[in-house]
């Protein structure tokens, strides 16, 4: 091959007058070592380096994908839990409202019952007081009638015992009436 290129590209070295091959001609030894070096690089890299690097990238990709999937699962689970908690919170608030309403209702019932009982007691007291008053009045009237009868009898006795003139009778009657009035007070 060198012969072919040399025939095409042979040049003259102006300095020493000796024919020199063109500097771009391929040297056989350089081709030999290039082949050796490249084949060595290719073989060893293909055997050791590229698979290791490729595997490392694949492993990291798989790990990242697994982590992303796990994170997505955790997010879905968290959203589900949040939804559950919100539902439970809403239920608790409903229960609390219902309990408060029931307590309020119970308190109203108790209040109404107490008021009704108090009113009943008051009415009972009033009835009994009125009854007592009526009985007292009746007793007073009975006492008054009895007293009046006694006084009438006493008065009649006094009238019978004395012969009274008109003025004395009037004074006696008025005295009687005043006595009755003072008795009723």
């Amino acid at each position: 091959m060198n012969v072919v290129f040399a025939a095409l590209l042979v040049s003259e070295n102006a300095n020493d007058g000796v024919k020199a091959s063109n500097p771009i001609l391929p040297e056989t030894t350089e081709i030999v070592w290039s082949v050796v070096a490249f084949v060595l690089v290719f073989a060893v890299l293909a055997w050791k380096a590229w698979p290791a690097i490729s595997k490392s990238l694949s492993d990291r990709e798989a790990k990242i994908r697994a982590d992303l999937d796990a994170a997505e699962g955790a997010r879905v689970e968290a959203e589900s839990s949040l939804e559950t908690y919100k539902q439970q919170l809403a239920d608790a608030r409903g229960d609390a409202g219902r309990i408060i309403d029931e307590a309020r209702q119970a308190a109203d019932d108790v209040r109404r019952e107490l008021i009704a009982r108090a009113e009943a007691d008051a009415a009972d007291l009033r009835t009994r007081a009125q009854e007592d008053i009526r009985q007292a009045t009746e007793r007073a009237m009975v006492d008054l009638q009895a007293r009046l009868a006694d006084l009438s009898i006493e008065l009649a006795q006094r009238i019978v015992e004395r012969n009274l003139d008109r003025d004395t009778q009037i004074a006696l009657i008025e005295s009687y009436i005043n006595e009755v009035a003072s008795t009723q007070k």
Binding site: F5, N13, A14, N15, A20, P23, I24, L25, P26, E27, T28, T29, E30, I31, V32, W33, S34, V35, V36, A37, F38, L40, V41, F42, V44, L45, A46, K48, A49, W50, A52, I53, S54, K55, S56, L57, D59, R60, K63
Partner: protein
């Protein structure tokens, strides 16, 4: 006037190196071969050593290895060849790293020579790609791989007179030649440019120090640019190899 006395060294001094070991044999090791071998060892040390204990939470080195793998596997192999073409990643990844490490010698102090500026390496890599895509083409498509290129569907038959020779030249000669020459020319040009600027700076320092700042700053800038060129050429070579492989597997696409 000043530059009239400046003598640029003969091109052989920039690219041809004396044998260091095994002199005058087919396996002689010169500077180019030595750098190729050192690059291989460095790649293996970094990638095999770095991938021995892979962790779920990556270290900085592991991150770099993974980014490189992803860059090749997703950015080139699966995007260009196909979603299920992961089996080509080891080859394309090795190719990219091999060229990248060789290119970066251009800007390493005291070395400053990219082995890819020697035709042997781009030629070997291009021929390797060439044989791989022919092999894959015939393996996956039989003779339709060749006939599909030479007689593309949808083209009027009369145009085959033009299209067929062009396609033949393109698939047989242009592809490997352009692949090799593109890498060689870029790295060689960068090496010559950096050398010229460095020599100009040294020459100016001796004769007119005040103007040395110009080529020096330019040299710094071009060194940074060559870093980009080194990466870009490795990427382009690998990408085109992937394109040719994809074309050989799915010629209808």
């Amino acid at each position: 006037m000043l530059l009239a006395a400046f003598e640029f060294p003969h091109i052989d001094e920039l690219f041809r190196w004396k044998g260091l070991f095994f002199g005058d044999t087919a396996y002689e090791i010169n500077k180019t071969s030595l750098l190729v071998l050192i690059s291989s060892v460095m790649i293996l040390l970094i990638f095999v050593g770095g991938s021995r204990r892979m962790r779920l939470i990556p270290t900085k080195l592991q991150s770099i290895l993974e980014m490189t793998f992803e860059f090749i596997d997703h950015g080139i192999t699966r995007d260009v060849v196909g979603k299920d073409a992961g089996r080509f990643t080891p080859f394309l990844g090795s190719l990219f790293l091999f060229i990248l490490f060789l290119n970066f010698w251009e800007i390493v102090p005291f070395i400053q020579f990219p082995p890819t500026a020697r035709f042997a390496i781009p030629l070997y890599l291009a021929l390797q790609t060439y044989f791989i895509y022919w092999y894959l083409g015939f393996r996956h498509n039989g003779y339709r791989y060749l006939t599909g290129h030479l007689f593309p569907a949808g083209v009027p038959k009369a145009l085959y007179i033009l299209v067929t020779p062009i396609e033949l030249v393109q698939i047989v000669i242009v592809r490997p030649f352009s692949l090799a020459v593109r890498l060689l020319a870029n790295m060689m040009a960068g090496h010559i440019l950096l050398t010229a600027l460095a020599l100009l700076t040294a020459y100016a320092l001796e004769n007119a120090p005040i103007i040395a700042i110009g080529p020096f700053l330019l040299n710094v800038g071009v060194t940074g640019f060559e870093l980009l060129v080194g990466f870009l050429q490795a990427y382009i070579f690998t990408l085109l190899t992937a394109v040719y492989i994809a074309d050989s597997i799915h010629p209808d696409h």
